[in-house]
């Protein structure tokens, strides 16, 4: 039995089908209390920037799963912008890339960045998802 749940998780991805499936897994496995979803980097960055003004800790996610290929603002740009502001939150936020890209250039780039905890290749396996949520709980 898990002793503690992740309070708030955040998913940034433009693939509706993927989001529905992930939501379903998270709900059925009860991996976190709440979930917020953004369709691209820009939307989520706007959200995080607004949190800088309003320091309501409940609104700060413990864990972010972000895709790389997205319209308007892709994963890389979000990570770059997010890295600049992440230390201003009173909470440690764990960031994972979840992408279907198996391009070694992407993987190496992710490894070189401190902000990123790990690079997960889609399809993400349920147990994998479970273990990263447990780690962050």
């Amino acid at each position: 039995m898990k002793n503690k749940l992740v309070e708030l998780a955040c998913i940034i991805d433009d693939d509706d089908i993927y989001i529905n499936l992930i939501k379903r897994i998270i709900e059925t496995r009860k991996l976190c209390e709440n979930l917020i979803v953004f369709k691209n980097g820009k939307q989520s960055l706007d959200y995080f920037e607004s949190l800088l003004q309003d320091t309501d800790e409940d609104k700060i996610p413990d864990i972010i799963l972000i895709d790389l290929n997205m319209p308007i603002m892709d994963g890389w740009e979000f990570i770059e912008q997010f890295t600049k502001i992440k230390n201003r939150f009173n909470k440690s936020i764990t960031l994972y890339i979840v992408s279907s890209s198996i391009n070694p250039i992407d993987i190496d780039r992710a490894k070189s960045l401190n902000t990123i905890k790990d690079y997960l290749v889609k399809p993400i396996v349920m147990n994998q998802l479970e273990s990263i949520f447990n780690e962050s709980a």
Binding site: L21, I72, S100, S101, P123, I124
Partner: protein, 496 residues
Amino acid sequence: MLCLHYKRINIHLSNTMVQVSVPPNLIDSNIGYLELKNNDIHCSKAFLSHIGKPTKNKKISLDFFIKNLVHKDDSNQFRNNYYSYIKNNLPFRQSMLILCKEGKYKEFVCTTNQNNVNLNTSKTKFLFFNIRKFKTNKRVKKHKFYYKEVAEMTSTGSWYVDFIKRKSYWDQQTRRILEYPEDYKPSLRRASSYYPKKDYELAKKLFYKCATNGESFNTEIKMLTKNNREFWVRAKGKPVFNDHKEIIGIRGIFQDIDETKARELSLQRTSDIIASQNKRLYNFAYIVSHNLRSHTSNLSLVMELINTTKSKEEKLELISSIEDIASSLNDTIEHLNEVVTIQTSTNKNKSPVKFSESLQHIKMSIGQIIAKSKTAIVSDFSIVDTIDYIPAYLESILLNLITNAIKYKHPERDPVINIVSYIENDKTVLEITDNGIGIDLEKFGGKLFGMYNTFHYNKDAVGIGLFITKNQIEALNGQINVFSEVEKFTTFKITF
């Protein structure tokens, strides 16, 4: 072998003789050297044994060396080479006659570099002299005929610009290459007419540097003949010095390399095309792998969920989501198919197409969209109307760019699309300009033509149109460029 050694010393400071020690392992005992100080040359024993003793104290002046010991036919060349060597560290190799014992000239090869031994420092410079083992054939040496022959067969003309007399000289070969009559007198004042505008700037720069700093040049440049024909030339030039180390002119050659250059350029073009095709293929492989993966990974996620769910209802719901995945997989495959078709059908069905007719077809097929969005399309094909192209591609390109312009119209004004064709560098160009919302090229420029990249909050955006357009254009060796200012306009420029 003899060695002429030059030591650079501040002229005003010292008049005392400096003994120079030459590393014995580098130069064998038989080799002498000449030490040059305050324009005086100090000869070594070995050198003196060859040339005899012009003075008592092993000391001769550079002037004396050049004027009396070096044969007059070689002295100017030697002086220029020598000063270029000292001033600009320009190595040289020159065959020359030096007056030796009993008033006989012997032929030496003077080099700045012997068996890759480099004794030169910023202060000390060496010149090596080797006796020529095989004497230059007298007929070649004496007869200008051979030089003429060489000049003609290699299309090489020589020239001289005299700064003192303020005159330019061309030989007949230069006149022939540049298509000027035999009695034509060149002049620096008319130099701008010898080059196309852009190349004239380059030529001016090279001449200026040579005249002021004594820097030699060796470059490929375009020139203009009297008949205004552009052609490629290899131009070499080097400074000419007087006895006081002053630059008094520039001597050089022009070699007609138009044919070779044309071949080189065409090879370069072929190589560029191959490189771009290769890049597209690589890109395509990446796209295929990436785009198909996102669907298959969704599929396996569904299967995993189905397997772990016990509820029947939920299972049925999950199965229905397979339908969604299948349909998007289908879309992707269709897009990929479209791209493959472009790559494979480039060779066939090129025929003369009229811009005006293609545009007319499109106006008819999307008449409703145009009318509904109140779009005005203004076109001017008066300069070029017909090109040799695949008709379906031209329509597809126009359709994509026009619908794009309408899709991203400015909310505060009706769309106006300007389409114009013209000729640039012998190629047909088509420009399509809209007054829409524009795009931040600094941010998105690199991805604009990528697959599935969209940059606006627009629900119609699929991110395939410009990708297909670019592929169609490039498959037929064309180019597409974009210029834009946010909130103002976007121009797509297609070079066919």
